[in-house]
């Protein structure tokens, strides 16, 4: 079957947290649009699985090289340097970064009052969600600035606009991502690097499996819905920007503009 040319053909995209949830859907959507995809995650088995999915969607003519799966940790400086280096070695450029790696709570942990929070748990969440965005963004900026072109989308959360009690570190980290993104967007605009935040509400991803019981399915949007919006943002003409975008399940989260700066 003939399919229309992808809107991101010839472009090289890195997705952190690419092995599950929104990140995995982003990898698949980018592959469908013809981009070369670099999948970054910590779980090797899942990396292999997502790489195979991406490979099956890759339009061979538009995108001659298959995906690259990198087992790296966004909270480690040397890992993020390796991410940029290996991407450049294989594909020669970096056009897109989707920073999707994030955690809601510590492994096996439940909603906790700040009063009872260990600094270990705090560090775990803030290191992945906020420092991880700093390190992954910084790792690609030199290349994008030299190219005078690039797009970064940081996946924040509606909790980065309206904080949620008993999830203080998550809310704080996501407010941090929104702030970092606003500042970086203005810094990089003169260099042709467009930096944006995407704030999803409750989305149907494995992030919830850290805290049983799962929320009912009627209260989440499919992760593919968020990936569709990512594609809109990434294919948007370079004369303009859609800034900070929020998307949420319509039936349950209508107040998604609350607290907007």
């Amino acid at each position: 079957m003939n399919r229309p040319p992808g809107k991101l053909e010839g472009q090289v995209a890195i997705v952190t947290g690419g092995t599950s949830g929104i990140g995995r859907q982003a990898c698949l959507a980018l592959a469908r649009e013809g981009a070369a995809v670099v999948i970054v995650g910590r779980n090797r088995a899942r990396l292999t699985a997502v790489a195979a999915e991406v490979e099956s969607l890759r339009p061979a003519r538009a995108c001659p090289r298959g995906p690259l799966g990198l087992s790296l940790d966004v909270s480690r400086e040397e890992d993020m340097a390796a991410m940029a280096k290996e991407t450049l070695q294989r594909f020669g450029r970096i056009d897109i970064l989707v920073a999707s790696a994030g955690i809601l709570r510590g492994a096996g942990s439940r909603p906790t009052r700040l009063l009872d929070l260990t600094s270990q748990e705090w560090d775990g969440i803030v290191d992945t969600n906020l420092k991880g965005v700093f390190l992954s963004n910084r790792a690609v900026l030199q290349t994008m600035r030299a190219q005078r072109s690039g797009r970064i989308i940081n996946i924040a959360s509606l909790s980065g606009r309206r904080a949620v009690p008993f999830d203080t570190p998550y809310s704080a980290s996501k407010f941090g991502v929104v702030g970092l993104t606003q500042a970086l967007a203005r810094e990089m605009e003169p260099y042709g690097v467009r930096v944006q935040a995407l704030l999803p509400g409750n989305t149907d991803t494995p992030i919830w499996s850290q805290n049983e019981p799962l929320p009912p399915a009627s209260q989440t949007i499919p992760a593919g819905r968020v990936a569709d919006l990512l594609v809109l943002m990434l294919t948007w003409p370079f004369d303009s920007t859609l800034g900070e975008l929020a998307i949420a399940p319509w039936r349950t989260q209508a107040r998604l503009n609350y607290g907007r700066g």
Partner: protein
């Protein structure tokens, strides 16, 4: 992606206020391309005819219904709903794009110099007009248990801007009205969203004679593309207020010191 589905709005009836120029006209064209039956409202009969002719040039587009009506007039807005229902039997979408920047022939000025007449002209068109046209379509949408409204505010509805206090007040009003309405009518299956554009290259600037739109103002089609995405977004999700602003990248000839690293 839903956005590129050519007949995504087949069978749907869409009213566009201020539909004969600027963002409204571009929106009429993009909704017609997606298969909607379009009802165009504007004060200017000549522009209405021109817009209808443009739509006639879109392959497969349905013939639009044009009405020279005033959004400031309660009776006109009542007629708008009645005549639309008589002709098409339903109202699925309202895109409310009618608006003015300043009083006729007036420029930016300090609030101290704004006379009551100009205040009333801008507030009546932008804010009361939003109330009247939104209210006019609600009975039909409530009865259908289905409908969508997109109101156009402005970046001046998020941040005050010196020398356009009246416009800012009216567009902040549109924000508040839209957020309240969105929450109110959600249980009836009506999704209400908002777009906040920065400077767009439209005839709105012409009211002010010598004042030209800023050099980097965006083509109205950008906003129309965004609106098309928003109305075709599956009904499980909703977008938060979307800002669309120029991306100010000026290509530099030489690398700067920061590139050498």
């Amino acid at each position: 992606m839903n956005f590129s589905d050519q007949q995504a709005l087949a069978g749907q009836v869409a009213i566009v206020t201020g539909g004969a120029s600027g963002i409204g006209r571009a929106t009429c064209l993009s909704l017609a391309r997606l298969g909607a039956a379009v009802v165009i409202i504007d004060l200017k009969a000549q522009w209405l005819a021109e817009t209808a002719r443009e739509i006639a040039g879109v392959p497969g587009a349905l013939e639009p219904l044009t009405m020279a009506k005033d959004i400031r007039n309660e009776t006109d807005m009542g007629d708008l709903a009645r005549l639309t229902l008589e002709k098409f039997g339903r109202i699925d979408i309202l895109v409310h794009s009618a608006g003015i920047l300043r009083g006729k022939g007036s420029g930016p000025k300090m609030m101290a110099d704004v006379d009551l007449e100009e205040w009333e002209e801008v507030i009546t068109t932008n804010l009361k007009g939003t109330f009247l046209c939104n209210r006019a379509v609600l009975p039909a949408m409530v009865k259908q248990r289905r409908g969508q409204i997109i109101n156009i505010s402005s970046t001046s509805g998020l941040k005050g801007r010196a020398l356009d206090s009246v416009y800012c007040a009216s567009k902040f009003g549109v924000m508040g009205l839209t957020q309240a309405l969105a929450e109110e009518v959600r249980p009836y299956g009506i999704r209400v969203q908002l777009v906040a554009p920065d400077a767009i290259d439209t005839p709105m600037w012409d009211q002010n004679g010598p004042i030209r739109p800023p050099g980097d103002s965006l083509p109205p089609a950008r906003v129309a593309d965004l609106i098309a995405y928003m109305v075709t977004l599956p009904l499980d999700a909703i977008l938060g207020d979307v800002v669309i602003a120029p991306f100010r990248f000026r290509r530099r000839k030489k690398p700067d010191a920061a590139d050498k690293a």
